[in-house]
């Protein structure tokens, strides 16, 4: 189709700022993350333990408040993984995100749902479903999502 030599461009760049309210549950989550604790929600009716915290239990359709938040272990068990191997723009910085990077989906001890995070391994043959993982915290936490820069694979002999 395109007659590239005739391409005519109008360039603009849009900033679309929001002042999103993150809600009481996320405030509590990030406050506790600063204390190196990982918090989720426990349904007061069916006991289902959600990670990340949720305001409504989808099973029971009832409210879960800050009072229903509980701490999960920083350790968990891997149920799936991938190694991301393509370049893309980091939405946080506008620059390119370094790749490859490992990505895991796992269940923290005490949780009933999975969470996903970076894993410090880029060789897919080193991953194994059922393997143990552990959150690695920054030394100086700030109460943001990068307080855990990644999870690490726990070697069998460590357990």
């Amino acid at each position: 189709m395109g007659k590239k030599e005739k391409e005519f461009q109008i360039k603009w760049k849009t900033d679309l700022p929001y002042r999103y309210s993150i809600g009481k549950l996320a405030v509590k989550y990030f406050e506790e993350l600063k204390n190196k604790k990982i918090m989720g929600s426990k349904c007061p009716k069916c006991d289902k333990r959600y990670m990340p915290p949720r305001a409504v239990c989808a099973n029971c359709f009832i409210e879960m408040t800050v009072e229903d938040m509980i701490e999960f272990s920083p350790k968990g068990t891997l149920v799936g993984f991938t190694v991301v191997n393509y370049p893309f723009i980091d939405p946080n910085t506008g620059g390119m995100r370094p790749f490859p990077y490992g990505y895991g989906i796992f269940k923290l001890d005490g949780a009933d749902t999975y969470m996903m995070h970076f894993v410090d391994e880029t060789d897919h043959t080193k991953f194994k479903i059922g393997q143990r993982v552990e959150a690695v915290f920054k030394e100086k936490t700030e109460g943001d999502i990068y307080d855990i820069p990644y999870f690490r694979l726990i070697k069998e002999e460590e357990e």
């Binding site: 990340p52 991301v84 191997n85 996903m116």
Partner: protein, 381 residues
């Protein structure tokens, strides 16, 4: 639901990346004008208009406001589904069922090759816990494929067969974007994007538009001798967070399929359906779809593709058009599936026609890894 809502005509553009000669409006106008010409109608014969699109893909909010002239709905009843085009079809069908309108134009479009699909898909994720961690449709698909393949022992070769099949089918579909056959070796040796999925396990980004006219049982024969009737419909949406879903099985699609089969009185889908067009977002996804649609037992998707039953000459051909792996018009994919099934049941699919197709299934999907699912069963004359 017997012969209540008819599709009497469909039009599609050629799908391709970087359609710089045509704006979104012009793409939409192309299919709407062709539909008018094919049916011998004018804009006055269209009762109301429903479209399906996505604001992030179009780069503007309430994006349907910008195509009113092209769909012919200036000073006319119009509404839009922000999501997959299959849901726009459902909205249109409801307008016919309401009895308020004799004819409804349903349109879906996108020029998704013009946006940054990583940023657009990353923005599906919540901005507190997930978006910053770099998730998008490709990395999510990698996680899902790894979990599914590990649980059921499905191989990368079996996944690659889906790509080989769909890309081969696309050669006979003049609308398809990628019309070049690929070999097993080419799929398996293409660069790894998100283990275990490689570049060719994923679709391209395609621009295009699709349009169709719906009408009721009284008016259908006025437009065509081969109307296509809605026989069954159901939708089901799964949890927002991937971590709150099963991930190894498409539970939402299973629910939707069961309900749609009940409405359409489908007992044995492989025998009762002649053709299926499904929204496969990546190779392994199509294998999972076979299972959720009950074409085979759970975990048997790999063996089912091995059996060849979903090939164009199999007992239940899946994606004779080439599917989404050949033409990926984000947000229009579901309505394209409906249009393709319509062509099949009208006997108008030409080089990719399934002989004597009488009953067909279209599956449209929203969100990451089959969160929102729409199953439609159609019957021909």
């Amino acid at each position: 639901m017997d012969k209540e809502v008819a599709i009497v005509g469909c039009t599609q553009t050629k799908y391709e990346a970087d359609k710089i000669d045509l704006t979104i409006s012009e793409l939409v106008f192309e299919v709407v004008k062709k539909l008018h010409n094919d049916l011998g109608i004018t804009n006055d014969d269209v009762g109301c208009v429903i479209s399906g699109s996505n604001d992030f893909n179009d780069g503007r909010t309430i994006a349907n406001m910008a195509i009113q002239d092209a769909v012919g709905s200036v000073r006319k009843s119009e509404s839009r589904v922000s999501g997959d085009g299959a849901f726009a079809y459902v909205y249109g069908a409801m307008r016919i069922l309401s009895g308020e309108y004799d004819t409804v134009l349903v349109v879906s479009h996108s020029k998704c090759s013009e946006g940054d699909q990583f940023l657009i898909n990353n923005s599906i994720f919540d901005p507190y816990y997930q978006r910053h961690l770099g998730l998008d449709q490709i990395s999510s698909a990698g996680l899902m494929a790894n979990m599914y393949m590990s649980k059921y022992g499905v191989s990368e070769e079996q996944a690659a067969k889906v790509v080989v099949k769909n890309r081969k089918n696309a050669i006979n579909n003049p609308h398809a974007h990628l019309q070049k056959e690929v070999s097993m070796d080419e799929v398996l040796s293409s660069p790894m994007l998100a283990y275990p999925l490689k570049e060719l396990d994923f679709p391209p980004y395609s621009d295009g538009a699709v349009a169709m006219l719906l009408t009721n049982k009284e008016k259908a024969k006025r437009f065509t001798n081969t109307p296509v009737w809605l026989k069954g419909y159901a939708s089901c949406t799964d949890a927002y967070y991937l971590g709150h879903r099963t991930m190894t099985d498409l539970i939402g699609l299973e629910f939707a399929a069961k309900e749609a089969y009940k409405m359409a009185k489908i007992k044995d889908p492989v025998r009762d359906l002649d053709v299926a067009e499904v929204f496969e977002a990546f190779s392994t996804h199509e294998l999972m779809i076979y299972e959720a649609l009950d074409f085979c037992d759970k975990g048997e998707g790999g063996k089912f593709i091995d059996s060849g039953e979903t090939n164009i000459n199999g007992t239940i051909p899946v994606n004779p058009s080439g599917g989404v792996l050949s033409s990926n018009v984000a947000m229009a994919n579901g309505l394209i599936r409906v249009a393709e099934i319509t062509s099949q049941l009208m006997g108008a699919a030409e080089d990719h026609q399934i002989p004597n197709a009488k009953t067909g299934l279209a599956y449209g999907m929203n969100g990451i890894c089959s969160q929102g699912n729409c199953v439609l069963i159609f019957g021909g004359e």
